[in-house]
């Protein structure tokens, strides 16, 4: 053992003696001016970044890298009360009950004619499969729909050109949920009993409301990522998959055996026709659909029990398989809709497929084989060409407005710029370290905005001041204006960012809601003025209908609550002034505080477990007299005769003495 230590020590000295180039020297002198956003001025882009295992989405400014907001989506958030208030608990309901956490990997910004329209951001839940829709007017989660027959919702929530559909593909194949739950079968029966599913979730044009329109049942592959066609390929959707080996143990080895896996080409327009013609079978399943009623400031949560499943083995012209080398991860469609880029994470090249050639091969039935009853196109017949020796571990590709592609390489830790037509590598820059996704503003759309590429790195190591074993996640901003990419900025990110999109601020900022109009508040327990404030007892339920305004609550003295009661504080923020939220917290609450936006009503449940007097207060610094914004609630023993009373500013004669 001593010997080993000695050896390691000597080896270390040898390494420290080296002075390799570091990233510090890579940023050039004028980088600072390119990311400087003067105080009081705005960033050019919103960067909508997934939070990964935080379950949230975060909003940054580009080029400054400043964090503006974390939007609670799939994870309960005690800071805002999301998932804790009576109004928002329902948003996290699923067929499994209340699920307060998830893993959000990919945002997808809504588009019209393939171009960002600034209306919604969709996000996927990987673990308990769901899709969320965030309203870009309020930056709040407006809707969450669960996906039946699904496990590991990774290739999601990518959208069609006009946001007709958002999709979900199963990373984990599973036995189907028919009869409402997934059956008890041996894992060894994988090939027989496990299936993959691709869900097409329709998005209502005006309201954005989602519905699981139909599902395609596919062989038990692991679908990974997806992109819709655009322009000429508008009717198609492309999904990458790995594990064509159909392994169900030690996938690290067993799902890497074949030289090629597949890109699935789905004719969704055709599938839609079949669905409308009733060509599928309706299956009995169970999934939750939750949406936020902005006028009632409350979630409507419902359980649905039916889904339409189409079988591509029978509906022959719905699904085709394109062989793609070595466990493809990214599957990206260029702005013209003509080229589909498959990035095999273990591949030594990047194949680019031609949509025209795919169509010709399908028309000519130029198939090399069938895989589980699905036709497999010939690789050479549909190939536009290969980018040779691009780097190691290609993952994802985004596009600029000049016909170039930018591919991230995890293993060789770099971004490689190449030309989609010529397939020539034009430039490469290192990332610090081990990039995952990357983002060009508008990069996945028909109209990339260009200007920057942002790297979302998986390894941080020594890039920032260390903070113990757990480090911040790290993004890096590069200019792509010139021929050469130029590193401009490192900025830390919250959660574990996977994918991100960036959208011009001009398309979003003018629509931002400042207040909720109090006269439009239809919450059943709203106090639309202080005169409406009251306390109501219904059996052991005590409803405190409370108002808040700078700098007091009505009521702020409450008596007559007893052990065994459940108290509901329904707090309405009467302010009609931008950026004046009030907060509410009560001592001993075992859930959270809540933030109430101007004109909004929110409710926290409080079950006192001891006798006493408990203070409550405003948590969000609202005014010069914020510290005075407080109250008391008295809890008496069960069976006590203390009457239910409530007031603000009233003092008994005895107390006044």
């Amino acid at each position: 053992m001593k010997n080993l230590s000695l050896v390691l020590l000597v080896a270390t000295i040898a390494i420290i003696g080296c002075k390799p180039k570091s990233g510090v020297s890579v940023a050039t002198g004028d980088a600072a001016t390119k990311v400087y956003v003067a105080p009081g001025t705005y960033d050019e882009f919103y960067n909508v970044v997934s939070g990964g295992f935080s379950g949230q989405m975060a909003i940054y400014g580009i080029p400054s890298g400043r964090l503006f907001r974390e939007i609670p989506v799939f994870s309960a958030d005690p800071e805002t009360g999301w998932g804790y208030t009576e109004e928002t608990k329902g948003m996290l309901m699923t067929s499994h009950g209340f699920v307060p956490w998830d893993d959000l990997h990919h945002p997808a910004l809504s588009t019209t004619n393939g171009v960002h329209d600034g209306r919604w951001a969709f996000g996927n839940a990987n673990n308990t499969p769901r899709i969320a829709r965030i309203d870009m007017k309020t930056f709040k989660t407006a809707e969450i729909i669960e996906l039946p027959n699904s496990s590991g919702n990774h290739s999601s929530p990518f959208i069609t050109e006009n946001t007709e559909y958002t999709v979900a593909g199963t990373r984990f194949s599973s036995p189907p949920d028919y009869q409402g739950s997934n059956p008890d079968v041996s894992i060894n029966s994988y090939k027989e009993n496990f299936k993959g599913y691709i869900s097409f979730v329709s998005v209502e044009k005006e309201s954005g409301m989602m519905d699981v329109a139909f599902q395609l049942q596919i062989p038990p592959l692991n679908t990974d990522l997806a992109r819709a066609g655009k322009g000429p390929s508008h009717d198609w959707f492309f999904f990458s998959c790995y594990n064509s080996e159909q392994a169900f143990t030690l996938l690290e080895v067993n799902a890497s055996q074949k030289d090629k896996d597949f890109i699935l080409a789905v004719n969704w327009k055709k599938a839609e026709e079949y669905a409308k013609a009733g060509k599928g079978s309706k299956k009995n399943v169970k999934y939750a659909h939750n949406y936020y009623d902005e006028s009632k400031h409350t979630t409507i949560s419902e359980i649905k029990n039916e889904v339409l499943v189409l079988d591509p083995k029978e509906l022959k012209d719905v699904l085709y398989l394109i062989p793609c080398p070595k466990s493809p991860h990214g599957c990206d469609v260029d702005p013209t809709g003509q080229y589909i880029v498959g990035s095999g994470k273990l591949a030594a090249l990047i194949p680019v497929f031609s949509f025209d050639k795919i169509q010709k091969a399908i028309d000519a039935k130029d198939f090399e084989a069938e895989y589980d009853g699905i036709p497999v196109l010939k690789y050479e017949s549909v190939l536009h060409g290969e980018v040779q020796k691009p780097g190691l571990g290609p993952l994802h590709t985004e596009f600029d407005d000049k016909g170039n592609a930018y591919t991230s390489f995890f293993v060789s830790s770099e971004i490689v710029k190449w030309n989609v037509q010529s397939l020539q590598v034009l430039d490469r820059v290192p990332t610090y370290y081990s990039i995952g996704h990357l983002c060009v503003p508008g990069g996945p759309t028909a109209k990339p905005w260009g200007k920057y590429v942002i790297a979302y790195n998986k390894i941080t190591k020594d890039r920032y001041l260390p903070t113990g074993p757990e480090l911040t996640q790290s993004a890096q901003l590069y200019s792509i204006d010139g021929d050469k990419m130029e590193l401009l900025l490192d900025f830390p990110t919250t959660g574990e960012p996977h994918y991100a999109e960036a959208i011009p601020a001009e398309l979003v900022k003018g629509n931002s809601v400042k207040i909720f109009k109090i006269e439009e508040n239809n919450h059943p327990y709203a106090a639309k003025g202080e005169k409406e404030a009251k306390v109501i007892r219904e059996g052991n339920k005590v409803h405190v209908v409370m108002s808040s305004i700078r700098s007091h609550f009505v009521p702020d003295n409450i008596e007559g609550v007893k052990i065994g009661d459940e108290v509901y504080f329904h707090v309405t923020n009467l302010e009609q002034d931008w950026d004046v939220p009030h907060g509410f917290a009560v001592k001993g609450a075992d859930n959270a505080e809540m933030l109430i936006m101007p004109g909004e009503t929110a409710t926290i449940k409080w079950v006192p477990n001891r006798v006493g007097v408990f203070p409550f207060y405003c948590t969000d610094f609202c005014s010069a007299l914020h510290q005075e914004m407080q109250g008391y609630i008295r809890v008496s023993p069960a069976g006590s005769s203390v009457p239910l009373t409530y007031s603000t500013g009233k003092v008994t004669k005895e107390a006044a003495k």
């Binding site: 010997n3 080993l4 050896v7 390691l8 000597v10 080896a11 270390t12 040898a14 390494i15 420290i16 003696g17 080296c18 002075k19 390799p20 180039k21 570091s22 990233g23 890579v26 030690l250 690290e252 080895v253 890497s256 055996q257 030289d259 080398p325 070595k326 994470k345 273990l346 591949a347 030594a348 090249l349 020796k389 190691l392 571990g393 995890f410 293993v411 060789s412 830790s413 770099e414 590598v425 430039d427 490469r428 820059v429 290192p430 610090y432 370290y433 081990s434 998986k458 390894i459 190591k461 020594d462 050469k484």
Partner: protein, 186 residues
């Protein structure tokens, strides 16, 4: 256990001749693209964590040729990254079996792609532990071609070369091999 002891023996003598930094091997003819390929986790100062594959190789007197080749191929950064990798690491003796002229040619800048191809044929992305390998199994290597595993009892071979030691690293696994793996002609 034998494998581990051998692996440690490989580490015992530290060569003082190991070069520092890929800049030394970059010639004037290096393209601008190559010049920008700078900075991987190789440069991270960390004497606490378990050693990665590159640090182990740099510390091994038996792998000076391999380390020099990795530098010439500009793969030091890559193999320092998160991986995980399985690297079949030919010893100096193994490289000595390759005709000297061939090796010298490969170390020339104009043949960097050919060198990269050979080195990539020694690297698989993924940890292929011996107890998860089967006789006759193929493993896809980083250059896009496959090697074949031969397993006879405890004796492990890859293509026609012997695995003589197994060294776990922070970012994967090193199999020390007694021959250089030559990618089959395509």
């Amino acid at each position: 256990m034998k494998n581990l002891i051998y692996g440690l023996m490989c580490l015992l003598a530290i060569s003082g001749t190991v070069g520092c930094g890929s800049s030394e091997t970059q010639s004037d003819t290096t393209t601008a693209i190559d010049a920008q390929h700078a900075g991987g986790q190789e440069a991270v100062v960390d004497d606490v964590s378990q050693k990665d594959i590159v640090k182990i190789a740099v510390g091994s007197a038996d792998h000076t040729t391999l380390v020099a080749a990795l530098k010439q191929a500009e793969y030091v950064d890559d193999i320092s990254n998160a991986g995980p990798f399985t690297v079949f690491a030919p010893t100096n003796e193994a490289f000595a079996k390759v005709p000297k002229e061939t090796l010298d040619d490969l170390m020339k800048d104009e043949n960097r792609l050919a060198l990269q191809n050979i080195l990539e044929y020694h690297v698989a992305v993924g940890v292929y532990r011996q107890d998860y390998l089967n006789d006759g199994q193929t493993v896809g290597m980083a250059n896009g071609q496959n090697v074949t595993i031969h397993l006879n009892g405890d004796k492990l071979m890859v293509n026609e070369v012997n695995v003589v030691a197994t060294i776990p690293a922070s970012n994967g696994l090193i199999y020390v091999v007694d021959g250089v793996l030559l990618p089959p002609a395509k």
